[in-house]
């Protein structure tokens, strides 16, 4: 018997897995009929999830956490426990700057070194601050991975967000426009919106967020916790369909087809050429340049990328505490740890060939070179997951970590 699931999404390249699970019949193979609902803001994706228009949603990871805590932008919305049994991908965002700023601090023709670019940016940021016209950055949502990564990078380079530079929210479709008009000096956004800004000559890509944290959690599959309990079998079937979609997505033989599907009006309604750049990890950094290959720009499948590491949720919580002016709260931290559900991921995929990590948490940023780790079926190789500044997050000591960050 076929069960129906409705999934909300924003038109971004990293909404690819639910879309491809539907289009290539992976959902059908698992006895699921998927309906996808496209929206234009995270607020609306969230409202549809909370009020039952959708069963699950493509969501920026920090928003799933803040909704469960009922804080920050959830203000007004009552706290509702969300569950994240699957990560839809790691990274895939970039920092794009107005051309004159990019020329001054970036490394033309390549993605710059984050520390060197940050040091050059600090000079400009302080100049602009002294002139009473501080640099302005646009991110897609306050509770987005983009905001966490951007702030992490700035702060580690000696640029204090909210004091030295302003960070504001810009809707992705308006990012190129905001750069062009000078409403912001830089944006941190997902694809295809960086490439759209490059094509328009409004901006140049200076860094990929994967350079800030090589294996940073990005979008997740979020659902209401009671729905997960009620429809556990269907959600596990969905996880198997999404894994198959991930395997298909990273295979170079499928890139053209998948870019064409994602570009369709009902999905991203965009250019398949720009979408293919993101899929293939080959970006055009500036108009008139040539494509630059940055492996792992988007990371949707290998190394159990979709496994919801509890430590990644906990890292995001430390960043919310850091930037939303909250006090670290042990109860909140416990709630956050319950949002990510590696147990559901494991029970969905047990008996398949997918590696199932034996641990649910890991020390984030601790792998500097290729390392072998244990899984339930043997071993899996992990490549570097480092933060650009060598920072290490031990989930057993979040408060010590926050104290070191200052």
């Amino acid at each position: 018997m076929t069960s129906s699931l409705t999934i909300g999404f924003l038109p971004l390249v990293d909404a690819c897995l639910p879309i491809l699970a539907r289009e290539h019949g992976f959902a059908e193979e698992e006895g699921l009929s998927l309906t996808l609902v496209r929206d234009m803001s995270w607020a609306t994706v969230l409202d549809r999830l909370l009020y039952g228009h959708t069963d699950a949603a493509h969501m920026v990871a920090p928003l799933a956490i803040s909704t469960s805590l009922g804080q920050g932008l959830g203000r007004g919305r009552p706290a509702q426990a969300l569950a994240v049994p699957f990560v839809l991908g790691l990274n895939g965002n970039a920092i794009t700057m107005r051309p004159e700023l990019a020329h001054r601090i970036g490394e033309p023709g390549r993605l710059g070194d984050p520390s060197r670019v940050g040091a050059a940016l600090r000079v400009v940021a302080l100049e602009r601050l002294a002139a009473g016209n501080p640099l302005r950055f646009g991110v897609v949502h306050r509770h987005s991975s983009h905001n966490c990564m951007l702030r992490y990078w700035l702060a580690a380079c000696g640029i204090r967000p909210d004091r030295d530079v302003e960070i504001t929210t810009v809707a992705p479709p308006f990012c190129a426009d905001a750069l062009e008009l000078g409403e912001v000096d830089a944006i941190c956004v997902g694809e295809p919106w960086n490439s759209v800004a490059v094509e328009a000559g409004a901006g140049e890509i200076v860094l990929a967020t994967a350079q800030i944290w090589r294996r940073g959690v990005e979008k997740v599959l979020a659902l209401r916790e009671p729905l997960l309990a009620d429809r556990r079998d269907q959600i596990e079937a969905l996880i198997r369909a999404l894994i198959k979609a991930g395997r298909h997505f990273v295979d170079p033989r499928n890139w053209d087809d998948n870019a064409t599907i994602l570009a369709r009006p009902e999905y991203l309604d965009g250019s398949s050429m720009l979408i293919k750049r993101a899929i293939s990890d080959r970006l055009l950094l500036a108009r008139g340049g040539s494509l630059v290959d940055f492996p792992d720009f988007m990371f949707q499948y290998r190394e159990a990328a979709n496994f919801p590491w509890v430590s990644q949720a906990e890292w995001l919580y430390t960043q919310m505490v850091r930037w939303d002016g909250l006090a670290f709260d042990a109860d909140d931290a416990r709630k956050v740890a319950q949002v990510f559900r590696p147990d559901v991921y494991r029970s969905a995929l047990i008996g398949t060939s997918e590696p199932l990590p034996g641990a649910s948490s890991k020390v984030e940023g601790s792998i500097f070179q290729t390392t072998t780790v244990g899984t339930q079926q043997g071993a899996m190789t992990l490549e570097s997951n480092r933060f650009f500044d060598g920072g290490v997050f031990d989930p057993l000591d979040p408060q010590g970590y926050l104290a070191r960050l200052g």
């Binding site: 929206d39 234009m40 803001s41 995270w42 607020a43 609306t44 409202d47 549809r48 009020y51 039952g52 228009h53 920050g72 932008l73 203000r75 007004g76 919305r77 009552p78 897609v140 949502h141 306050r142 504001t168 929210t169 810009v170 809707a171 992705p172 479709p173 308006f174 426009d177 008009l181 409403e183």
Partner: protein, 198 residues
């Protein structure tokens, strides 16, 4: 009360404004431009903001309400926990409301209900319009099919129509569908572009 309606559709905003105009003591402002949205909202200093769920600027607005120090009174999304059903209805209708702190739910409820009804009315209006457009296109196709039959088979207009109707009944299809099929076939056989058949 000062009410801001944020909507990229000027027509829909006007329909909602008209609906809310019936309320006493309400001043209504319409914002359709996403550029400078936040500054404009700051100037208006609304008690209530209504925004359609399809507007890409919702996240921008929510952040402004939470973070901005420019506002004297904080604004939050209106969620009346005593009546979740009606909030669900507004999500269904495609509108969300943000209200300033301290505004009592009983003052907001009638207003939100009205806005929801206007949103629904607008959605109906649009589907009626789409239907009317479809009907016009169908009538046009039938006229063109009749003309082809009249030219090719030397039929009178009533005979041509009767022929279309008979075929439709025999095949269990609509007259408009038969007309479309006939036009397509005629185009293929005479190698004409649809516009030339007029």
């Amino acid at each position: 009360m000062r009410i801001a309606i944020v909507d990229v559709s000027t027509t829909r905003a006007a329909v909602i404004r008209e609906g809310l105009a019936a309320l006493d003591d309400c001043e209504i402002f319409i914002v359709t431009e996403h550029r400078g949205l936040v500054a404009r909202i700051g100037e208006i200093a609304p008690d209530i903001v209504l925004i359609d769920l399809g507007n890409p600027s919702r996240d921008v607005l929510e952040e402004y309400f939470v973070v901005s120090r420019a506002l004297d009174r904080p604004i939050a999304m209106f969620v009346d926990e005593s009546d979740e059903e009606s909030i669900g209805a507004s999500v269904d209708a495609g509108v969300s409301a943000y209200v300033v702190d301290g505004l009592a739910p009983h003052r907001i409820r009638p207003l939100l209900d009205l806005a929801v009804r206007r949103f629904q009315a607008f959605a109906r209006l649009q589907s009626d319009l789409a239907e009317a457009k479809g009907k016009l296109a169908e009538r046009d196709a039938i006229d063109r099919a009749k003309r082809i039959l009249m030219d090719q088979r030397r039929l009178t207009e009533p005979e041509a129509y009767a022929e279309l109707r008979r075929t439709a009944m025999n095949q269990g299809r609509r007259i408009a569908e038969i007309a479309e099929a006939l036009i397509t076939a005629h185009m293929l056989l005479t190698n004409t572009h649809p516009e030339h058949g007029k």
